[in-house]
Subunit: 354 residues, 2 copies
């Protein structure tokens, strides 16, 4: 699936000074600053096991034999409409995917809207229509909502927070800590499509492509994968901070090393070209319709096969493996045979990408 | 419990022109404009039974013998801290209460934060600390979260969307449509404390009071009420739009008439004075720690008794009754023996009150 090997220069990340006393854009990056903020402000006070597990959704036991997964996301993407999607589709898919990534079947969503005075109602209408279409595709219902209005200049058009709930069997134990040495790392398709498509929609690319965001609900793909294998140890969607940041989280949670094979990383030529020009690394660019799966070696082929039969998994490829060492680290083996450390995103790459 | 009888002049509501094509502050009021927007944009597209039921939480069957309630709210209150509370306590209590109002036991919350660049981290820390204190008081866990950052001028400090889930027995059927002729209407305490306290914190009152917001989790109060009566037909917290707007919703849902007794409406002297001066009617002012209960005549006394033994129900009083006519309407019987129609809030009374 390697359509082009991305240039691997470091991402251009303006890194604000450490120990800042105020919120800066980097705190929303999905990278290290956000992780520090979450640890210092949120985890230190709201501590409970489901939250501290640090997965895409919190999982709790509801009754004997039935676990509940809950996940929430605020969506502040700019612009509201972009090639391949809009904030409505993003709000539904982002939350459906987070619930599905712990192995749960997403069932119900809630959505709360913060509207800026002056927003066109016809635009809101299109966004809600898009939400409903995405919800139908995913097979979920939006059963609760809320609307608040703030004055002109107190929001940027429209923000949507969605929360999803899903059910899972307590025997399912999928999460960042479950990666095992010997496992393979699968990606469901090309990297960076969403981030570059949004950048182009903002007019920040300087040239035009036919690229579309990959924003999509992945729950049916995951259902198909889980139907053929009980040895899927980790599922995670590499959104803000990209594949690099997500893999670092998994490496830290599992205390394992993750080794990426540069030559097998799937990147579309347009994304590679945009990244080369802007000095970005596709490993750090957000995706909204891709997943990373860490799967036992013996089940890898059958999982790949079933993924490739689905709409959103047809580009599935093995891009790396899990080893005992270096524990908590992600390495990249380059085409030239050298190896370098792939770190988390340090500052802010692309604000308001989701 | 009538500490003062409010003056009943109409609320001062700037009513924007009808059929507006853009969002105006009135769309967030909790009143008629919001109801129209919800119907035309949200209900028309996201249609499903739990949503269309129009209660504080959507209720679905999870498994045999177990229903799930989900409710969500965006919180944009200004200022972030006010006498008696702050956005963190409000975000937890508002959602806990909405889940509890359908008779469910709230268990888990999610919280998504939209932070404006430049927000002081120490302030965020105090807000999260307050959320945790409120969650502990209510007995719920915040098990999932998200943080987004927008640039300076794209939000006003901090917005929080919370979603709550709770469980309920399928035999419980509490909702706006269940009001029955002959039932009594109970309120758990004084009206308007939250709205006037926030107004004072904004410096818009022109004089100072010792008034505090009533923001509180009501789930334990409801638990106590449900333990003594199976004939609680409706529970609703009169937040945006106040008691008047909430009762109109119930009258519409149940096709019953609700008759309010002016002399029994509990209002603190400070709230009455502020309303008199500003030309507001306490019936339209937001509450965040009060509930309305519609209860069968024979269970009214025992429900009142148990309410008065709890911290947040000690001011409980009967303030009206349900009759067959006028169906879908709320009437007020004044101290002078006359009767007037109490309509929903038409425009916007107090923006960003919650």
């Amino acid at each position: 699936m390697t359509e082009n090997t991305p240039s691997m220069q470091g991402a251009v990340c303006p890194v604000p000074k450490k120990h800042s006393n105020t919120i800066v854009l980097g705190h929303g990056s999905g990278g290290r600053m956000m992780a520090d903020l979450i640890k210092e402000v949120f985890y230190s006070q709201l501590k409970n096991d489901p939250l501290l597990a640090g997965n895409d959704a919190g999982v709790v036991e509801l009754t004997d034999g039935l676990n509940l997964a809950i996940s929430t996301d605020a969506h502040v993407v700019s612009p509201l409409f972009f090639p391949g999607g809009d904030i409505g589709r993003l709000a539904v898919c982002g939350t459906v995917n987070d619930v599905a990534m712990v192995g749960a079947v997403p069932l119900y969503l809630s959505a709360s809207f913060i509207l800026e005075e002056g927003l066109e109602i016809s635009l809101l209408d299109r966004v809600v229509e898009s939400m409903q279409a995405a919800a139908e595709e995913a097979g979920v219902l939006v059963i609760s909502g809320d609307t608040k209005v703030v004055a002109h200049g107190e929001a940027d058009g429209l923000y949507i927070s969605t929360t999803g709930v899903g059910l899972l069997d307590p025997v399912v134990n999928i999460g960042g800590s479950q990666a095992q040495a010997g496992d393979n790392l699968i990606i469901s398709g090309t990297m960076g499509d969403h981030g570059i498509a949004v950048l182009e929609a903002r007019g920040e690319l300087g040239f035009s492509t036919n690229l579309e965001s990959d924003v999509a609900p992945l729950n049916h793909l995951i259902e198909a994968m889980l139907a053929v294998s009980k040895n899927i140890h980790v599922l995670r969607d590499p959104t803000r901070g990209g594949v690099a940041t997500t893999l670092n989280e998994i490496a830290r949670q599992s205390h394992k090393g993750i080794i990426l094979d540069e030559q097998s990383l799937p990147v579309k030529p347009e994304v590679a070209a945009a990244c080369e020009m802007l000095g970005f690394d596709p490993l750090y660019i957000a995706n909204e319709g891709k997943l990373l799966a860490i799967v036992s070696a013996e089940d890898t082929e059958k999982v790949l096969e079933v993924m490739r039969q689905t709409r959103y998994g047809e580009g599935a490829a093995v891009i790396g493996r899990v080893e005992e060492e270096p524990a908590g680290r992600v390495l990249l083996e380059t085409a030239l045979g050298s190896t370098r450390i792939v770190d988390v995103l340090a500052g802010e790459l692309l604000p308001r990408i989701c």
